[in-house]
């Protein structure tokens, strides 16, 4: 039996096509991946991402625990600030990537991937025993909505008294949305401005419906996992399970900016320090296919007649109108402009390494 989010019935009413995503029955599309993708780039889109997990860490040892489990420097956070990070094993392999919300100095909220909730929770608990700290999996109690796109702030502001322009990028605030208390953060997975709204499961349907109604005139439409994937890929945000897993390190995944080797000890630090000192053997890079055929996840990657890798994430990019993707390549082939081949149904098709992100929005205010 697949798990359902509190918004399941709303998706059915909206005519969504539902699919199994890591054990969750989720909307993959409503009107279609391309119109949904374009709505987020040009107006706004609303996503149900309630399948994501929420793990709360509280108590006097909370900072010490999160600091030990994650690669970014949690001590740098102030109340209500949010941080992107990775959780690594002793070998430096990525157990999950996550957002760390500091609610107060003894209270942290970790938002983790749906597929990782159980293993993450067990891993976190197994390291909590010696510290004065409580760890709770509160995933079922909460729903998470993502309102993304250039019109997102304008739409949300109409049902919020709190001035949203006072919430900077990667900060959050506990505020009322249409009279309902929510944790609203300026975060997202699309490469656009926007918010993620964490609310109690019972309040999700009201907020979802209200946003769709008041945002309709501004071009807001519901968006599914297909658009979420193409949007994140254009922005070169990594997808756990595709672009990294326990066999790849955050350094190899191009996430050195969330690995703070000087913050003090953390799980995986020695391995990551060693890898940094010895130099990377391979690295995740962005590529563009020089052909009309999209290169998809798992397609073989060939250099000089030898298979060196497979496509980690690959798709047609609806806004850029190109076929793009991410792939791990031997370090000597990772320079921008380097050409290699991707095998598409038996045919070797040329591709080249390009700068990431593939898409970067124009900053309008700062």
């Amino acid at each position: 039996m697949l798990k359902r989010t509190p918004l399941h019935d709303s998706h059915i009413l909206l005519g969504a096509r539902m699919v199994d995503f890591v054990g969750w029955e989720m909307p993959v599309q409503y009107s279609g991946p391309i119109p949904e993708h374009m709505a987020v780039r040009q107006a706004a889109g609303l996503f149900d991402v309630s399948h994501m997990g929420e793990i709360e860490v509280c108590g006097a040892g909370a900072l010490a625990l999160v600091q030990r489990l994650t690669t970014n420097d949690v001590a740098k956070l102030r109340d209500n600030q949010v941080q992107y990070s990775t959780m690594t094993n002793e070998q430096g392999g990525v157990i999950d990537d996550l957002l760390v919300y500091r609610l107060n100095e003894d209270y942290y909220l970790l938002v983790v991937n749906a597929g990782g909730i159980d293993t993450d929770f067990a891993w976190i608990q197994s390291h909590a025993s010696t510290l004065n700290v409580e760890v709770h999996d509160t995933s079922d109690a909460f729903a998470l909505l993502a309102l993304q796109g250039p019109r997102a702030e304008f739409i949300l502001q109409r049902i919020c008294d709190h001035m949203l322009d006072r919430i900077p990028y990667y900060w959050s605030q506990q505020i009322e949305v249409d009279g309902i208390s929510c944790r609203v953060s300026r975060t997202g997975y699309t490469g656009e401005d926007g918010f993620e709204i964490l609310c109690h499961a019972a309040d999700a349907r009201h907020i979802w419906n209200r946003l769709l109604v008041i945002g309709h005139a501004d071009g807001l439409i519901p968006c599914g996992l297909a658009a979420r994937n193409t949007l994140r890929l254009e922005a070169a945000f990594r997808l756990y399970g595709n672009d990294m897993d326990q066999t790849t390190t955050p350094l190899e995944a191009g996430l050195a900016w969330v690995v703070k080797l000087n913050k003090g000890n953390f799980i995986g630090r020695d391995a990551l320090q060693r890898q940094k000192a010895e130099g990377l053997q391979r690295k995740l890079v962005g590529f563009e296919v020089m052909d009309k055929a999209p290169a998809r996840d798992g397609y073989p990657v060939v250099i000089n007649g030898q298979q060196v890798s497979v496509v980690a994430s690959g798709s047609y990019a609806p806004y850029l109108k190109k076929n793009i993707g991410m792939v791990y390549l031997p370090i000597e082939h990772t320079v921008v402009g380097t050409q290699f081949s991707i095998v598409i149904r038996g045919r070797e098709v040329p591709a080249r390494v390009v700068e990431t992100p593939f898409y970067k929005r124009e900053k309008r205010f700062d």
Partner: protein, 131 residues
């Protein structure tokens, strides 16, 4: 609503076939394009290529998926719709005309009689949906 023109023949793999003399034009049905969603790439064979009945002769890709397209009857490809190379969306907007994929010369024209009628194909879609 799914459009299933009466003057065409159909396959259980969701291709349509327009028979004219010794040749037949092949594409994918309105139902198929709706299921697939926005088409971003169509891979087609070359004129002169030969395929057996039910053998894949190409593929059609949406953002999410790749689907193979199957030969309705054994035969030789005599023409391909190269316009789909630059405008694959024609498969969505006009599946029965501008979105055509290949023209074939069947090895045995009599095999075309074994294809589904529009009514039979519509029944088949309903059965598939009920499963």
């Amino acid at each position: 609503m799914v459009n299933t023109p009466e003057d065409l023949s159909y396959t259980k793999d969701h291709e349509w076939v327009r028979i004219s003399g010794e040749q037949a034009t092949v594409g994918i049905t309105d139902h198929a394009q709706q299921q697939l969603g926005d088409v971003v790439y169509v891979e087609l064979p070359k004129a002169g290529d030969k395929f057996e009945a039910n053998e894949p002769f190409g593929s059609v890709e949406s953002v999410k998926a790749v689907s193979e397209i199957y030969m309705p009857v054994s035969g030789t490809v005599v023409n391909v719709n190269s316009a789909l190379n630059d405008a694959p969306e024609k498969v969505n907007t006009d599946p029965y005309h501008d979105g055509w994929m290949i023209i074939i010369k069947p090895d045995n024209p009599a095999t075309l009689d074994g294809l589904l009628t529009a009514a039979e194909y519509e029944d088949y879609i309903k059965e598939e949906a009920a499963e």
